[in-house]
Structure formats: structure tokens, C-alpha cells
Amino acid sequence: MKDPILSNNERAFVEKAIAEKLRIDKRGLNEFRNLAIFYGKNYGSVIASLGETKVFASVSCEVSTPKTTRPNEGTIFINVEMGSQQNEPCIVVTRILERTIRESNCIDLESLCIVAEEKVWNLRVDISILNNEGNVIDCACIAAVSALAHFRRPDCTASGDGEFTIHKSAEKDLIPIVLHHYPICVNYALFEGKTPIADPTILEERVTNASLILAVNAYKELCSIHLTGVSLTSPYLIQKCSDMAAERAKHIVEYIKDALEQDRIDRENGQAKGFSQSIKLTNIPSNFTDTQEIDQVMDTENDGSGELEEVMADESFEKIDSDTVASTWTKEESDESSDSDVQVIEESPKKKGIINVMEIVDTSSDDEEKETIVLN
């Protein structure tokens, strides 16, 4: 991931705009980008995206000995990969998530105990920041919480003497992790230490360098507060932000629960599609006739007006779902008559000149660059 260079002009522009209560992506000051959650085929794999910020989370578990201080509790470990060499932001995100998820006791760790003092389940949440367009923490938190809610561990029976057996999924149903509540991080970038901006983009984050992160659950309980960056704030602001965060958290929790329910229904019907449901663009028909559909796809991309209530945008996703099967490449033999760019490459082994091939590849890459413009 590359860090763009922030010019003084950009900085001044953003600051001035915020002072006039304007944001460069037309959002209101307390408006969030679109949220989407996709579950994988494996239990506990999730991609969450907030605008263009994308985070992958996966949960895994294994049996090990408990800590001596907590002999009848399982443990949870959270690991965050940023994909860049920078160490600091990674530590910050990890610690905030640890506080939010582990220290708010949202997981019933006692239910993860197999034999007290001997064997417990250890949970591990691996979070990978795929794309950082700002507000990684919100997205990572949503991904982590939904992954935990989605995860199923194998059942396990203890048979005295500290012996126990782990059942395969065929023998006994997998069991979900008990979550008491879903803590949701809400990140407000602070401008001048006074103006809070919901869901900052990377540009806004880099301009202000200070943010207030509140973790709240649906019961209006505050699970963690974190003031990052170099900043001074007032208690009044914290109070104000926490009220707004509580609203937001309620919506997010509902959204996560809906998505989980949808996934459960899909799985029951044997239609779990995994991450393929997140794939939209293979829908684009090759003959470019169905412009309407493209427009629709584009619309969901550009529609930045998502008020809190409109966060889900799930209508469009469902639509894509139904189309995906038809238009993805399946086992049916495809017709031989295709002769696109790439095909030419395959057919040109005898043209030994590298330059020749390169030209061809060049055109294809050019195409893709242009197409990038259209898509984004």
C-alpha cells in the first residue's frame, strides 16, 4: 500500500472546507460511507468494506492450556496486519481492538473452557487490512465482530480424567461463540480539536492526525474510548461524540445481525456462495447491451448519500447475487470463437519477438487502466 503525499494545498483545502461544514466527498459531517459485509465459505471469514476501505477478518481456534490466573476461561488473541512497514498504526489498531473486544468482555470466555485448569479453546482473530481509504478502525472492528459472530467451533466433550474428544462437524453440529454484546468502534476525526467528522477518509485522517474512537454497543454501553494522535479535546466534545456513536452502533449491530441471518438462511438452503457474492463486475455482459445494469452497478458505487438509515444498500447486492451465478465462468464449455487480446497471446508462441507480445499485452493493460477510471 502506498501512502500518498499530502500537499499543503490539499491540507488547506480540506481544512477550509471542514470549517464551512463541507467535505470533499459531499458527505455531511456526521455521515458514513456505505457498509458491506460478506461472509466466506468457511465459518469465521469475513470481508467488511466501508466505502473503499476493505478489511478481511478470520477467526480460528485451537485447544491449549489456560492461563494460570484464569483457569476456567478461554483466551482470545487479536492480530492485525497492515501490509506496510509502519509499525505504529498497526499497534494502535491492535490495542484498540483488544480493548474493545477482549477487555469489554463481549465474549463469554468461560464457555470456551473444556476442562478447567487443563484445556480451553483459544480464539485467534486475524485481521488483514486489504485497502486503507481511511477509518480502518471502524471497518476492522466491524469485520472482527462479525467474524466472531459468524464463527463456529467444533463441539467438545470432556469425559473425566481430563480426557476429551473434539467432534467432527459430521458427528455433532458446530457451535457458535457466545457474544454478550457487539461492541462497535466509531471513529471521529477531530478538526481543531473541536469539529468531529464521522468516518474520515484517508485524506481527512492525514490532514488532522487526531481522532476520537469510541466503542459502544447496542445497549448504549461505552466499551472503550481512545484519543489518538496529537490533540487536545474537551469533555463536552467526548460526551457529544459518544451520543452520536451510540446511534451509529445500534444501526451497525442491526446490520451485522441481518447479514448473519441472511448467511444462515443461505447455508440452510445449501446456497452459501462465499465471497463470490461480493463479486460484481463479472456481471458486466460482454456485448455491452444491458447498460441499465451497469448504471445500476455504477450507481451503488457512486451513491455517496448513504444516510445512517441507508447504510445497507443490500438491495443492489442481492440483485448482483442472483446474477452472479449466471454470468460467472462455470464449468460449461465456453465457445471457441472468442478472439480477444489475451487469446492472441496464447496463439502467438511462434512469434518469438518479445516486442511483439509486449505490444499486445500493452494494449490490454492500457485498456484496464482506462477501465479503472470508469469503474471508480
Partner: protein, 260 residues
């Protein structure tokens, strides 16, 4: 479940009242600063005992940035290093921690806190190193003591700052009473703990907050109460720090300094 943190008589486990701080002792200039004549010497230091926590902080700089300190684009380089002595905790000996997340977090937090109060523009092109050694602690939130000690050390080194930074914790009983300065025992017993580092200004109720940390959860409606308690604690700590600083200063001052 949360054990009751307050007895029927209104006393806490260690006999304090709900709005009482633990014992605090502090001293500035505990390490000799004129020992060396090269730039890596210690320019300011402080020691603090707060409850069971003992911390030494030392400052080196502001000085010409060392070549290895890397980042050229930053005009003011502020390095923070925190270490826990291997014998600092009761019970088992602590392993020597290197690059641990916990230390990393404390270091980042300290960096952010002090960068927001040091008058950075006065230290362009220079480097300032803050070293913290925790000699003894009981496992509680030592960040408070570290922040307070670091403030003293920075003042001892004569670094320009806007205000003292004071850090304090507060917790909540089952009955919703805010408790000041949480001890480790109280923390284990399961109350939520809010830690803030604030700039308690003289005669100004609205404090600026430079750092907040919360462990465990509580209802939003209680936020105000617990926050107020923390702020009160910060003011009290400010008074203690101020006393120590003035005490130290009067030792220094003689009638000559003004006639200079």
C-alpha cells in the same frame, strides 16, 4: 461479577475514601545532569512514587538529531522509550520485553500526549529523548504515574510546555459512585477504569484532554460522572506536582538569578 468496591462505612479496600488519591511522592532532578559534556547526557530527570508504583524518567535533549534517528521530514523528533525492570512486579520475575505491543502502545501514547503540549515550534530540527524506567509496579495502570513523572522530568529539563500534563484514573461502584485513583486490587475486582491525561488549568473548569483510555464498559449516562471524577483527580495531582516543582525551584533560586 463486580465485587463491591466500597464498604458500608464508605471506605475502600485500602482504607481510602472515594475521592482520595493514593500516596504520591515525587522529586525532580534525581540524576546528575552535569556529569557529561556530550550531547547524550541526561538533561532532566524525575522520580515518582504513586501507591506501589515507582518510576524514574529522564530526558536527554533537546539536541542535534543523531544520524541514526532516521526520519528527516519531521522537524521535531521526539523519542520515547519505556522499560519495566525485571523485578518490578510482585511474584514471578518479568521477562525482558522487547518490542511488545503493550510497551509500544504506552510509547505511542506518551509521544502523542507530550507532542500536544510541548511548544514544538521552539524545538525545530532538534531531538528530544524521553526514557522511562518502571522500577516497581503492582500491575495496575502505570501509565498515569508514567505521564506524571514524565511531566516532572520535562519541567526539570526546562522544556517549554503549555501546561502540566496530569493523568489520573477513576472507576465506578455498583451504586454508580465514582472512585478516584484506582488501585490494582480494585481494577482486578472488576470495575471499569477510565484513565485520562488532562491539562488542568488554573481557574478553568473546562480542561483540555490529551489522552483517554477505558477498560471494561459502563453505561453512557455515567460517562459524565466518572469523567468529572478523573478531572478532579487531575487537579489534585496538579497541586501535588506544583508543590514539588515549586519546592525544587525555590531551592534553585537565589536573589542573583533575577539580577542577571
Amino acid at each position: 461479577m463486580v465485587q463491591d468496591l466500597l464498604s458500608a462505612q464508605g471506605l475502600r479496600m485500602d482504607g481510602r475514601r472515594h475521592n482520595e488519591l493514593r500516596q504520591i511522592q515525587c522529586k525532580l532532578g534525581v540524576l546528575e545532569s552535569e556529569l557529561f559534556t556530550h550531547k547524550n547526557r541526561c538533561d532532566g530527570s524525575a522520580y515518582m512514587l504513586h501507591g506501589n508504583t515507582k518510576v524514574i524518567a529522564s530526558i536527554s535533549g533537546p539536541k542535534h538529531p543523531s544520524k541514526s534517528s532516521g526520519k528527516k521530514d519531521e522537524s521535531f523528533i521526539f523519542n520515547v522509550r519505556v522499560k519495566f525492570a525485571t523485578f518490578s512486579k510482585n511474584g514471578e520475575r518479568q521477562k525482558v520485553l522487547k518490542n511488545s505491543k503493550k510497551l509500544g502502545e504506552i510509547e505511542i501514547n506518551l509521544k502523542n500526549i507530550f507532542k500536544s503540549v510541548i511548544l514544538v515550534e521552539k524545538y525545530e530540527k532538534s531531538q528530544l529523548d524521553l526514557n522511562i524506567e518502571v522500577l516497581q509496579h503492582d500491575g495496575g495502570s502505570e501509565i498515569c504515574t508514567i505521564v506524571n513523572t514524565a511531566t516532572l522530568a520535562l519541567i526539570d529539563a526546562g522544556i517549554c510546555m503549555k501546561e502540566y500534563v496530569c493523568a489520573c484514573t477513576a472507576s465506578l461502584t455498583n451504586d454508580g459512585l465514582a472512585l478516584l485513583d484506582v488501585s490494582h486490587l480494585e481494577e482486578i475486582c472488576g470495575g471499569p477504569t477510565l484513565t485520562i491525561a488532562a491539562l488542568p488549568r488554573i481557574g478553568d473548569h473546562e480542561q483540555s484532554v490529551a489522552f483517554i483510555e477505558l477498560s471494561q464498559k459502563f453505561y453512557l449516562k455515567d460517562l459524565n460522572k466518572i469523567f468529572d471524577c478523573c478531572q478532579l483527580g487531575c487537579e489534585k495531582i496538579r497541586t501535588i506536582l506544583d508543590e514539588a516543582i515549586r519546592g525544587n525551584a525555590y531551592e534553585h533560586v537565589n536573589s542573583d538569578l533575577t539580577s542577571n
